[in-house]
């Protein structure tokens, strides 16, 4: 179970022990917060010794950075692909919201760490992640502006509207659980319609 989930979450990370530590880190940080978690806790959750952890990550901060950077890179790739998947601002935005919402629902434990533990990152690492976030915001903002230019959207401030669209998706990580009434895919479709309407488009 754990092995296959970590491989699904981080297909690019090798070896498997490093992925196992990232998954143990996610679970520990999500449960008790970054600052209250020790490298000993994480190693223990991964069934490894603290010394074995340091073979893969020189510090707890390095492990958080690996989790955060990977989550942001995946989000950026997803948003970029979605934006390019359609020819009109309306359909590109629908695709972004559908996929970004579904990602935050399906990966809500990882997403919580990625979204809420940013300030625990050391300054240089924070800047790397902040660049990825700015790029995600830029894609969504440019798409809102393109939709305003084409007459599909009617918002007055694309920056605020883009942030509101992203907020809808990000906040899913806070409240979504396996007990939610809707599947990640259904929630994504419903939120996409709400977001399009928010931007002044007719979703159907």
């Amino acid at each position: 179970m754990t092995m296959s989930l970590s491989a699904e979450l981080w297909p690019d990370v090798q070896p498997e022990a490093a992925r196992r530590l990232m998954l143990a880190g996610v679970e520990s940080f999500a449960r008790r917060g970054y600052h209250a978690t020790t490298t000993r806790d994480i190693a223990g959750n991964a069934g490894m010794s603290p010394a074995a952890l340091y073979v893969h990550f020189p510090s707890k901060a390095a492990l958080l950075f690996a989790i955060s950077r990977s989550g942001h890179e995946q989000s950026l790739a997803l948003v970029r692909r979605a934006a390019e998947s359609a020819d009109t601002p309306v359909e590109s935005m629908r695709s972004i919201v559908e996929r970004f919402v579904a990602w935050h629902a399906r990966r809500h434990t990882v997403a919580r760490v990625v979204q809420y533990e940013l300030e625990a990152l050391p300054e240089q690492e924070y800047e790397v992640v902040a660049d990825l976030r700015r790029e995600i915001e830029r894609i969504v903002r440019d798409l809102v502006a393109a939709g305003v230019a084409s007459g599909d959207f009617t918002v007055t401030d694309p920056t605020t509207a883009a942030r509101a669209v992203l907020s809808l998706a990000i906040d899913v990580a806070r409240w979504y659980s396996e007990r939610a009434r809707k599947s990640p895919t259904d929630l994504g479709a419903e939120y996409a319609a709400l977001a399009l309407r928010m931007l002044g488009a007719t979703p159907d």
Copy 2:
């Protein structure tokens, strides 16, 4: 400074030492998370001894509960007053979003603790807070349903739409800071227009 802020945040809490501890708790929990904060840290931040803390709060959990319950009671009162402040679903909803967003922006540090440290509450205390949250959601959902019935709103699922409206406001606590380009009031007005449009109403 600290005295007046704590009096503004918790006008009903007496004596002033208890308010000072709540403010120190908010600042410590927001910075390092609930689990990584000790009662000694909090007492120190408030300029008091650990023994003096226990005079007012029997445990760290009791302090978190006081902060969380008060924040939720304030939110509920604000949402209830806003809902009753106008005669139509559109104007009531506008007022709710304006005030709820502004509250999360102005009180973003308190709101972060209130919104993101729920799971650290002991079970009984969690249930008290969960009841307050359900009541906030019920008011917003009933208003969405009333707007659908009156033909002002056109959403298909009032529960999901109500949650999306609340998400817009709650996520403000995550990203808002004193460096934000917009004042809490301006942000509230802009988000109210976005939320009304999301519900299928014409905001102007």
